[in-house]
């Protein structure tokens, strides 16, 4: 009998605020020198008072709305007490008994994953154990991230395969991005995931679960779940028992390892944070936030299909990520709705190929949406050929020059003047009597080589559709 894997995910997501949760230190510390953004509040100096960031609360509330959670009328911050060098106060301000929201859901491929709760909390600092490949005999602490606002989104244990977990994360990220709640950049630590994994015989009670940490990508989550489930099956089939513990994913070794430091049995002695007053989700405030929630991926996908006539597949690709959807929509707004399908093709092919190859940031690509719209418009209208369009796009990417300028500079304007085209057609027919005879005899396929000859004579500038027609006319007469 086979095993069934049971998976629940805990996702930490950085709210897209300018400043930290309880102080005015900036949050954008990625790539900044250590301890650049610290103050007496976020480093826990004696006598300071935290004050809650309104924007963080509003984004957190909107996350709850986007994930169809119930907002608590009243929520309370609590101190989670433990000692670790990345935690300057000796406690983390979090929410415990009274989180701000519960009971949400997120649709994935063919099921709905329930969300148990979402709560707000502050991030800890960062520990450095090595410089480059050199392991240090001590550890270094950087508090830039200490106090950065997070929400922790806890799912129910509703997923049954690593693939479902991957889908959940993909869709969750899309909802958070489209909702304007977080940029969700995993490399910057803006989205982090821990996985709770257990196995059982189908319909049996849940098995003992293992928490996996150190998952740095969605792919790592997927791989770790597969390997951990297999490890647990091995343990159980060998007559052993699964121990409840925290394990770390070792991406290089492709397996989970027990954490070296044995945590003491969790005894966080939570109590209400006396420095912060309760948070009340006032009706008018909530209504205003709900009205201001940006269009979510499912709605945007449906709109792209209805407004732009995109296929289900194309629309899905265009709405996979918020920056891409924004880019595409801008292209269409300039090129016009009739060009939407062509725009989607351009974005999916030449554009994405470049973006992926160069790991480009969509907000700062050299070919702006306006420039891509220009290329698409020129190709759709027949001013330049599709092939020339690709060349213009490539050059525009490399030089940042305007597509119209590049067309003039490279002499790529497509020739649609019938007089000019006829001269090339005549020359092509003279030079290829065999092909011409074949076409006359009814072998339609032979026309390809004649069109090719014209393209060669015109150095790619002839309008191929017109050339095709002119050849047929000539040979029919």
């Amino acid at each position: 009998m086979s095993w069934e894997t049971v998976i629940g995910l805990e996702v930490h997501c950085q709210l897209g605020t300018r400043t930290k949760l309880f102080c005015g230190c900036p949050t954008g510390s990625f790539g900044q020198p250590a301890n650049r953004f610290i103050c007496p509040v976020c480093t826990g100096q004696p006598g300071v008072l935290p004050v809650l960031n309104r924007a963080a609360v509003e984004l957190a509330f909107q996350a709850a709305m986007a994930l169809e959670c119930r907002l608590a009328e009243r929520s309370v911050f609590a101190r989670k007490n433990y000692f670790y060098p990345d935690l300057p106060k000796g406690y983390q301000v979090s929410q415990y008994e009274l989180p701000f929201s519960r009971d949400g859901k997120l649709a994935i491929a063919d099921k709905t994953v329930r969300i148990h709760r979402i709560h707000m909390e502050e991030d800890a600092g960062k520990l450095l154990h090595a410089i480059g490949s050199e392991e240090l005999p001590y550890s270094l602490v950087d508090f830039n991230r200490a106090g950065v606002p997070l929400i922790e989104i806890v799912s129910e244990a509703d997923m049954r395969t690593a693939e479902e977990a991957f889908d959940y994360l993909t869709n969750l990220k899309a909802v958070l991005q489209f909702g304007g709640i977080s940029h969700c950049d995993m490399e910057k630590g803006e989205l982090r995931c821990d996985a709770n994994v257990s196995i059982r015989r189908p319909d049996a009670a849940f098995g003992t679960r293992v928490e996996i940490k150190n998952l740095n990508s969605f792919r790592a989550v997927r791989d770790a779940i597969v390997h951990e489930a297999a490890r647990q099956a091995g343990v159980l089939e060998g007559g052993g028992t699964v121990v409840q513990e925290t394990r770390l994913w070792d991406v290089a070794a492709n397996r989970t390892e027990p954490m070296r430091s044995k945590e003491e049995a969790h005894d966080y002695r939570y109590f209400p944070e006396p420095d912060l007053v309760p948070l009340v989700a006032e009706e008018a405030w909530v209504a205003r936030l709900r009205a201001g929630l940006p269009e979510l991926p499912a709605a945007r996908k449906a709109r792209f299909m209805a407004e732009f006539g995109l296929s289900d597949y194309d629309s899905g690709v265009m709405t996979a990520e918020r920056p891409l959807a924004d880019y595409f929509e801008r292209v269409v707004s300039v090129a016009g709705r009739p060009a939407a399908k062509a725009a989607a093709n351009w974005v999916q092919s030449d554009f994405m190929a470049r973006v992926k190859a160069e790991k480009a940031d969509l907000a700062a690509v050299p070919v702006t949406p306006e420039m891509l719209a220009e290329v698409v418009t020129m190709v759709v209208s027949g001013k330049i050929s599709g092939k020339a369009g690709k060349e213009v796009f490539a050059r525009a990417w490399e030089t940042g020059k305007k597509p119209a300028e590049l067309v003039a500079e490279l002499g790529l304007t497509q020739v649609s003047d019938e007089g000019e085209l006829r001269a090339w057609v005549d020359a092509a027919l003279d030079g290829n009597p065999k092909a011409a005879a074949d076409v006359r005899a009814g072998k339609e396929a032979a026309i390809g080589s004649l069109v090719g000859a014209v393209m060669k004579l015109s150095r790619g500038k002839a309008n191929p559709a017109l050339v095709n027609r002119l050849i047929k006319e000539k040979l029919a007469s």
Partner: protein
């Protein structure tokens, strides 16, 4: 109700306090008296009383999401027992 020296030892350990045996006995006695007082409170009927999370009647004290003037980080780092460059230096932590 008595807490016992073991429980006090555990709480002290969680709070990273080093107590002598004499202190353990003394604090265990003191904490027992605190718990006795709590037991008096527990005798009251609080069925219809909302749990108090905060002594003030205030809610929703919020600040705008605007960066504050920078603090002199040198003054903060000067409070660290040890540092290395811009970092705070601590004993080796393993995961």
């Amino acid at each position: 109700m008595s807490l016992g020296a073991e429980a006090v030892r555990k709480v002290a350990r969680l709070a990273r306090l080093k107590l002598s045996d004499a202190e353990l006995t003394r604090f265990a006695g003191q904490m027992d008296r605190v718990l006795e007082h709590m037991a008096d409170l527990a005798a009251l009927d609080t069925e219809k009383v909302q749990p108090t999370a905060h002594a003030l009647g205030l809610t929703n004290v919020l600040r705008p999401d605007v960066p504050a003037p920078e603090t002199d980080r040198e003054r903060i780092l000067a409070n660290a027992p040890e540092r290395e460059g811009p970092y705070v230096k601590v004993p080796k932590v393993i995961e």
